[in-house]
């Protein structure tokens, strides 16, 4: 229970930090799926990796990141085996590899969402511009009618 709370707290902090960083880099990023990244010098825990992997696998855009998620899953298996074998250097390597794959997966998912947002925004822009052109034509017709009505 305590470990789960700790995990969610850590994940929340990491997500917030990453979101703040990306926001500073390319504002605005409204609606971005915020991928997690471990803090500098901190090694991710197996439970942390498993939780994030689970979260990303369940995401609606997970198929855009299926290769990266598969690699993360393989690395997680290796990390668990190394932990069980008490092989700390191998466990660290596998965990880092899994974390990097998860970082890639989360950004692929965010990229898919950004592409969709751009398509939607472009469609809205085209629709709004078409409506604007229609309004221009209607105003021109109204002006023409008005000028015609004023002509003696």
């Amino acid at each position: 229970m305590f470990a789960r709370r700790l995990t969610s707290l850590a994940l929340g902090t990491v997500c917030a930090l990453f979101a703040a960083h990306v926001h500073a880099q390319a504002a605005p990023i409204g609606g971005l799926f915020a991928p997690a990244a471990p803090g500098a010098g901190r090694e991710p825990e197996v439970a942390e990796i498993a939780a994030l992997l689970e979260q990303l696998t369940r995401h609606a855009d997970a198929r855009d990141a299926r290769t990266a998620l598969a690699r993360a899953r393989d690395a997680l298996v290796r990390a668990r085996e190394a932990v069980r074998a008490k092989d700390q250097p191998r466990a660290t390597l596998a965990k880092q590899s899994a974390w990097a794959s998860l970082g890639l997966a989360s950004r692929r998912i965010a990229l898919a969402a950004a592409k969709r947002a751009q398509i939607v925004a472009e469609l809205r822009a085209r629709r709004a511009e078409a409506a604007c052109r229609t309004a221009e034509q209607r105003l021109a017709m109204a002006r023409q009618a008005d000028a015609h009505a004023r002509t003696p």
Partner: protein
């Protein structure tokens, strides 16, 4: 300062060297760059990732450095895979930022287009409302003109010829009373003292006192005349006519069916031919009724009558012209304010006309000095 500059230069050189090393694969590491070498990064990818997502690129750099630092092939492969993952993440992040920027630009276009569309719609709605108002006003003007013509006909003694038009007279009386109310409101808006405005108010409603339609129409006409006088009184409070008053003068002339044109001398109303004869015809009498309304509502400056013959005219022509001018001046004196000067001026070759010089666009003088010919003040004319 020098030391800091040196440190910066060293950092730049180190970064460039690292970049080149990354781009060219594993220079100096003993690793051979191959097709599937995990430590070989494409130059374009390196540049894009470094520019777009420097934090993720830094992770890729660290992973690659770890790979280069180890002798264990398995560990090198793990680090290499990690380096490639972070580089790919950096590239994905770069593309994501580009997409988000494009989406933001599209959203900005949406906002601009919607704002513009709202402005255009507002302009169109305003134009249509204006057209509706103009149509209603045109209809109202037409009705009023008809009502005024009916009142004029009655005033000129045509009532006997137009019996059986009581319903029309009742409608005309209603219209004239409504118009009188509007004119009184305008006078009050122009700061006419309330007691003077009360003078212009109707004596009775005109319907309940058992008057005939003819009498009610005459009463409405009188009410409108009083309201016009009140408006003239209010306008006279200002020293000279405003641009709005000039526009109102032309509007009133148009409404009453009077020909009016603007000239350098002022606003010119051509006199009808029938006005010069000893006996006035109907057109001349109608013109007098209509010009009276204009003179009541627009009190500024003198009235110039350009009827006197030119200096080179014969003696008989001069006598005839002067007599006609004096007669017209006397008639105008009956319908205008008592203290308003009516000057008879020689004609400038064009047709005889009544001129209001104070309403010229650039009014030359506030009050015209007596002309070379006779000058008749309304104060000397018979009482109205």
């Amino acid at each position: 300062m020098k030391a800091r500059g040196l440190v910066r230069a060293c950092a730049a050189i180190r970064a460039s060297a690292l970049l080149l090393a990354l781009a060219s694969g594993c220079a100096g590491s003993g690793l051979r760059p191959g097709r599937h070498d995990p430590l070989r990064f494409a130059r374009a990818d390196v540049l894009a990732a470094r520019r777009g997502a420097p934090d993720l690129f830094a992770r890729a750099q660290r992973a690659r450095a770890d790979a280069l630092a180890t002798d264990d092939p398995e560990a090198r492969a793990e680090h290499g895979e990690r380096a490639r993952a972070w580089l790919a993440a950096a590239l994905a992040e770069t593309r994501r930022i580009a997409h988000m920027r494009a989406a933001s630009a599209a959203e900005a276009r949406v906002v601009a287009a919607e704002t513009r569309r709202a402005e255009l719609e507002r302009a169109r709605v305003e134009l249509e409302r204006e057209a509706e108002r103009a149509a209603v006003a045109a209809g109202g003007r037409e009705q009023l003109a008809h009502a005024l013509q009916r009142a004029e006909s009655d005033a000129l003694g045509d009532a006997a010829r137009s019996r059986g038009l009581d319903e029309e007279r009742a409608q005309a009386a209603e219209l004239l009373r409504a118009r009188a109310r509007l004119v009184r409101a305008a006078a009050i808006a122009l700061q006419l003292p309330s007691q003077r405005a009360a003078v212009a108010a109707p004596a009775s409603s005109g319907r309940a006192d058992g008057a005939t339609a003819h009498q009610r129409l005459a009463a409405a006409r009188a009410e409108l005349e009083r309201a016009e006088s009140a408006l003239g009184e209010a306008r006279a409070l200002s020293r000279e006519p405003s641009a709005q008053e000039r526009a109102a003068l032309f509007e009133l002339a148009r409404e009453r069916g009077l020909e009016a044109r603007e000239s350098s001398r002022g606003v010119v109303f051509p006199l009808p031919d029938g006005l010069r004869g000893a006996r006035l015809d109907r057109a001349a009498r109608v013109w007098l009724l209509r010009i009276a309304a204009v003179l009541r509502a627009h009190p500024h400056g003198p009235v110039q009558l350009q009827v006197a013959p030119a200096a080179n005219a014969s003696a008989a022509e001069r006598h005839s012209g002067t007599t006609a001018g004096a007669r017209i001046a006397a008639m105008l004196a009956k319908v205008t304010r008592r203290d308003r000067a009516i000057a008879i001026e020689p004609s400038d070759g064009s047709d005889a006309a009544l001129v209001l010089p104070a309403y010229a666009t650039a009014a030359p003088v506030a009050a015209v000095p007596p002309g070379p010919q006779a000058c008749l003040s309304a104060a000397h004319a018979p009482a109205r």
